[in-house]
């Protein structure tokens, strides 16, 4: 549990909307992203990918390609020292039991999805590399495929993997739901489907690898997980301490750079050629090759009493895992645990399965399985409210979880649950209803709430480490292995260290994301980085503070408890003070370290038996509520977003401006998934491999997002902050679907909520539709 932190009655830096140090470099375009790097003598590399969704490789001949001008290396599966890549829990250092997800680095005799890597080429120029890749002779024999998880689990379905198509299965059964349903006054049933979604960060996957002067394979890559150095070492079959991953500032990640991207290929090619190698995926390649968000089919049956209390829920989830496991089993676990939403449900049955198909692989993406379910449970809530004549806030108020309640999996909520108040606040913030602007336009409003875990599953025994130290001139250095995906991860760490150690932000330098030189901090995923590394920096800074004050106390002739660190000086009660550099010199003389390395361990636990609901799965949760106002063109089905408000309890906002940014950006991504985005596949072939066909929202598609930053003062992060990276992406689709239902009386249950789907539901395309 987080200790109560009282440093100063009023914090100087924490809690203030301070401009981020990295923003200055970025507006000046001085930030060197992964693709902005180069080395003398560098080769350019490309990947040859399967055009088929399911096929056998009957011939693979690289002879002609290897002989082409400028070609330095052509690699296939047989050239990979260990052609197996573990993909179950990126960056994990402790064993995780039975989960064991692997894939081939390069395809052997079988390809299971379009875009599966078959060969690598490095050449003097990119054109030469591409020409050589085209010249590789591959003969495929197409095999039957399966493209829908339901079909994949049917008897006799083509097997994607020998062991069968069922990848994971989680169950929860709590309470006597049959009896509870029998007592229910109203039962609402619904089936909801979500689509394949792409992370679609603006910066495509990219990196450069070289063998450094000390012989260490060094890879500077756009990644959320520098701990992949271990995976590279494994594949290359060299010791882990001979690989170094440097993670520069990312051009966005959103979970899509959690699994390995280019780093293993670069490692292989650098090792083979002995030369620096660069690989940058095109947008088309990124949209084709990267793992997507899982599509879900979710069947919900919800029973409520006449007054509106939910008494029972039966939930059946089926996710498309695509061709390889990646993080599917864990994503599904998140869905299972959050399936009933932020509500008290005494009797719950959840059946959750995910199946292999010959579709693109699916894995981590912001929201990580806890977001698809929001669309289902919040649509259900709305329908129950409507059935009973209760307004959207009222039905949620009646059923909201409170502190001390437990989730269906048995986890007791130990921190504040801001549920009813968040819903009330966003609903009120929509303001008075505006009349429709034209006869063919209807206006509607929708509300959706959610809960999202922050921090890793407790039995993964998560930890982060950070180093904080003073230089002799009193300036401060923070070292921490976080990758900064753009969310202000690094600058928040500076804010925390500067707060504790009484220096100005401009006096802090932060070094991040280097697996050899910065203490490892774990992945920038799972809304964990502020929570985990923030706590590590806080711990290191506190220890350092104590070290310094202990040395300063005798210098000032007072007890160290009477001292404070302010504006670069140690100050005593009476106003006497010592400049920090003076204290540092004394430290040096007395052999007291001027730095501290701290490791923060998250509260750990053992795996729970979900079925019997025995306990804690996640450290804690962040709650939220969003409200949308839409205008519907009743003749075309077009949906225009008019107003959008989003509130989350973030415990404490370390930097309110960054928090607002996370909420606004997450909400718009969620709106994209709700209204526009869809990876369209035909028999596993991706038809949306360009930004002209994979539609992410533009500035003109969305309204301003009013972000309400709510601070309950409770959370497990530093200064009682909660994670906020993922939570805002959950509610938007449901809020919009509920608003559409409010305006039109028609409920859409399939994402994205396209105008054509709405037109069809409105009966505009004839009865047959």
């Amino acid at each position: 549990m987080a200790e109560a932190v009282v440093l100063h009655p009023s914090l100087r830096l924490v809690g203030r909307p301070l401009p981020r140090h990295d923003a200055r470099d970025k507006v000046a375009a001085a930030t060197a992203y992964a693709a902005d790097w180069g080395m003398p003598g560098m080769l350019q590399a490309t990947v040859l990918r399967s055009p088929y969704a399911s096929a056998r490789i009957v011939k693979l001949d690289t002879g002609r390609a290897a002989a082409m001008p400028g070609v330095a290396a052509v690699l296939t599966a047989k050239d990979v020292p260990r052609n197996t890549l573990a993909t179950d829990v990126p960056g994990q250092t402790t064993a995780v039991g039975p989960l064991r997800a692997t894939l081939h680095v390069l395809a052997t005799e079988r390809v299971r999805h379009q875009g599966e890597p078959v060969a690598l080429v490095a050449a003097e120029t990119l054109e030469q590399a591409r020409a050589a890749a085209e010249a590789i002779e591959v003969q495929y024999e197409p095999l039957p495929g399966v493209f829908d998880p339901e079909a994949a689990l049917a008897p006799g379905a083509p097997r994607v993997h020998e062991a069968g198509n069922l990848l994971a299965h989680w169950r929860i059964a709590r309470g006597d739901s049959a009896a509870a349903f029998a007592r229910a006054a109203v039962i609402v049933e619904g089936e909801y489907t979500t689509q394949f979604v792409d992370a679609a960060y603006l910066e495509p996957e990219s990196g450069v690898a070289w063998i450094d002067s000390d012989g260490v394979i060094t890879i500077r890559v756009s990644t959320q997980v520098i701990e992949h150095f271990r995976d590279v070492a494994e594949v290359l079959q060299i010791p882990q301490n001979r690989v170094r991953v440097i993670g520069p500032y990312l051009g966005g990640g959103f979970g899509g750079k959690e699994d390995v991207t280019v780093e293993v290929y670069l490692g292989l090619l650098a090792l083979r050629t002995g030369r620096p190698v660069k690989m940058v995926w095109t947008r088309q390649e990124s949209l084709l090759a990267r793992a997507k968000r899982h599509p879900y089919r979710m069947r919900y049956r919800t029973g409520a009493s006449a007054s509106g209390e939910i008494v029972a829920e039966q939930i059946d989830l089926l996710a498309d895992a695509g061709a390889y496991a990646y993080l599917s089993a864990l994503v599904l676990l998140y869905s299972t645990v959050t399936a009933a939403g932020p509500y008290r449900v005494p009797a719950v049955e959840v059946e959750a399965r995910c199946a292999y198909t010959n579709n693109p692989p699916t894995s981590a993406m912001r929201g990580f399985g806890a977001m698809q379910t929001v669309f289902a449970y919040e649509s259900q809530m709305d329908r129950i409210g409507r059935a009973l004549g209760l307004d959207p806030v009222e039905i949620r108020r009646m059923n909201a979880l409170r502190r001390g309640d437990s989730l269906p999996v048995g986890q007791v909520l130990e921190t504040h649950v801001a549920m009813p108040e968040l819903a009330e606040r966003v609903w009120a913030a929509l303001g008075p209803v505006r009349p429709a602007r034209a006869a063919h336009v209807k206006v509607g409003r929708g509300l959706a709430c959610n809960l999202q875990p922050y921090g890793r599953i407790v039995w993964l025994h998560d930890w982060s480490s950070a180093w904080v130290g003073f230089e002799m001139d009193g300036s401060l250095v923070v070292r921490c292995g976080v990758p900064d995906v753009g969310g202000g991860q690094a600058s928040s760490l500076c804010q925390i260290a500067a707060e504790v150690l009484g220096v100005g932000l401009e006096q802090v330098s932060v070094h991040i994301g280097d697996s050899a030189l910065t203490p490892l901090a774990g992945t920038t995923t799972a809304s964990r980085q502020l929570y985990m590394s923030g706590n590590a920096v806080l711990k290191a800074a506190r220890e350092l503070r104590a070290q310094l004050l202990a040395v300063a106390a005798p210098m000032l002739g007072v007890k160290d408890s009477a001292l404070d660190l302010l504006e670069g000086a140690v100050v005593a009660d009476g106003g006497r003070s010592l400049p920090v550099p003076d204290v540092l010199r004394r430290c040096a003389r007395e052999g007291v370290p001027r730095s501290h390395l701290a490791v923060y361990h998250a509260p750990a636990g053992e795996p729970v038996d979900l079925a019997t609901g025995s306990g804690k799965v996640f450290p804690d949760y962040t709650f939220g509520a969003h409200a949308a106002e839409v205008e519907i063109d009743m003749e075309t089905g077009a949906v225009r977003l008019v107003k959008y408000v989003a509130a989350h309890d973030v415990g404490r906002a370390i930097n309110p401006q960054s928090v607002e940014g996370q909420i606004q950006g997450g909400a718009v991504q969620g709106l994209g998934g709700g209204l526009l985005e869809e990876v369209i596949l035909e028999e596993g072939i991706n038809l949306t491999t360009s930004f002209a066909s994979y539609l992410i929202p533009t500035a003109a598609d969305v309204p301003d997002v009013e972000a309400l930053v709510v601070e309950s003062g409770e959370g497990l992060g530093p200064f009682n902050a909660r994670g906020i990276g993922e939570p805002p992406i959950g509610p938007p689709a449901a809020a919009v679907a509920n608003a559409i239902a409010d305006a039109t009386g028609v409920r859409l249950t399939r994402l994205p909520l396209t105008p054509e789907r709405l037109a069809r539901a409105l009966g505009l395309l004839g009865k047959a539709g």
Binding site: E127, Q128, A131, T698, E756
Partner: protein, 289 residues
């Protein structure tokens, strides 16, 4: 990024340009704004041997004479939007150009390029078909004039021969005509799913003297619907009549389905947008702002 040899020529006179096209024929590709051609080159979907950059040719002029607006093929989309000369004589063109792509496309993209590229969902080809524009095609052996309706031959296919250059577009100016463009796209700036251009002129009695309707996104080229136009002519432009004409147009169209949008939905849109466009065009013809 193409891995084969590519030559580049930037002729300074029309004669030189036409001579290059005559010599190299299908091996050559004309480069205007590049907003359709360069993506094709980048993806190696087009692999010409020679790029003939026509941006140095004197084809960017705008003239008005004897009831026609004559636009050089190199008139850029942003000029169509911004030029007072064009806006005064043919405001439909500005409305069409504003809907094309994003601001960067409009900085460089040209009228001639858009017509020559002949995307069936594009706004400017639709506008030219509605306006009954005439296109001048030049080659080293002379030049010919083709009505817009005959210029478009199919998906990305036109009447241009490999050695021909589109040099000028002549748009008849109809004083007092009301106009409107309606389009529907998933995001602003995207190619339209369906677009419609309407032109309506009224006689002294306020009856419809002439009406023209052209659609984009409903076939392999811009489509006129004469039956709907006929249904408007001669009568009062009352709402019911506009709605009826829109229904006729809708029913006459047979848009195909693809992986993104069904034909039935395109057809629905065509009807709704047509009625709205007619309503706005009539209002403008009546002088209602």
């Amino acid at each position: 990024m193409s891995a084969h040899p590519l030559e580049y020529a930037a002729p300074e006179t029309l004669e030189d340009a036409l001579a290059l096209l005559a010599t190299h024929g299908p091996e050559a590709k004309v480069l205007a704004g590049g907003q359709s051609l360069v993506p094709l080159l980048n993806y190696r979907l087009a692999r010409p041997r020679l790029i003939v950059d026509i941006n140095g040719l004197p084809l960017a002029s705008v003239h008005a004479d004897d009831g026609r607006l004559r636009l050089g093929a190199l008139t850029r989309h942003h000029e169509l939007e911004e030029s007072p000369e064009i806006t005064r004589r043919c405001p439909l063109l500005g409305e069409a150009a504003r809907l094309v792509g994003n601001v960067r496309v409009r900085s460089l993209g040209t009228l001639g390029g858009s017509l020559a590229h002949a995307d069936p969902a594009a706004e400017l080809p639709m506008a030219m078909v509605a306006l009954d524009a005439h296109l001048t095609l030049a080659s080293s052996s002379g030049h010919r004039t083709v009505p817009a309706r005959e210029f478009f031959r199919g998906y990305l296919t036109t009447a241009l021969a490999p050695d021909e250059l589109l040099t000028e577009i002549a748009v008849p100016v109809v004083p007092g005509a009301g106009w409107a463009i309606e389009e529907f796209s998933r995001r602003p700036g995207d190619f339209a799913i369906v677009g419609v251009a309407a032109l309506v002129s009224l006689d002294r009695h306020g009856h419809v003297e002439d009406a023209r309707l052209a659609f984009a996104g409903v076939g392999d080229r811009p489509v006129r619907v004469p039956a709907a136009e006929d249904a408007l002519r001669g009568g009062e432009p009352a709402d019911a009549r506009l709605a009826r004409a829109a229904e006729i147009a809708r029913d006459a169209l047979e848009p195909a389905s693809d992986a993104f949008v069904s034909g039935a939905y395109r057809r629905l849109l065509a009807g709704v947008l047509c009625r709205r466009a007619l309503g706005r065009a009539v209002a403008r013809a009546l002088g209602v702002p």
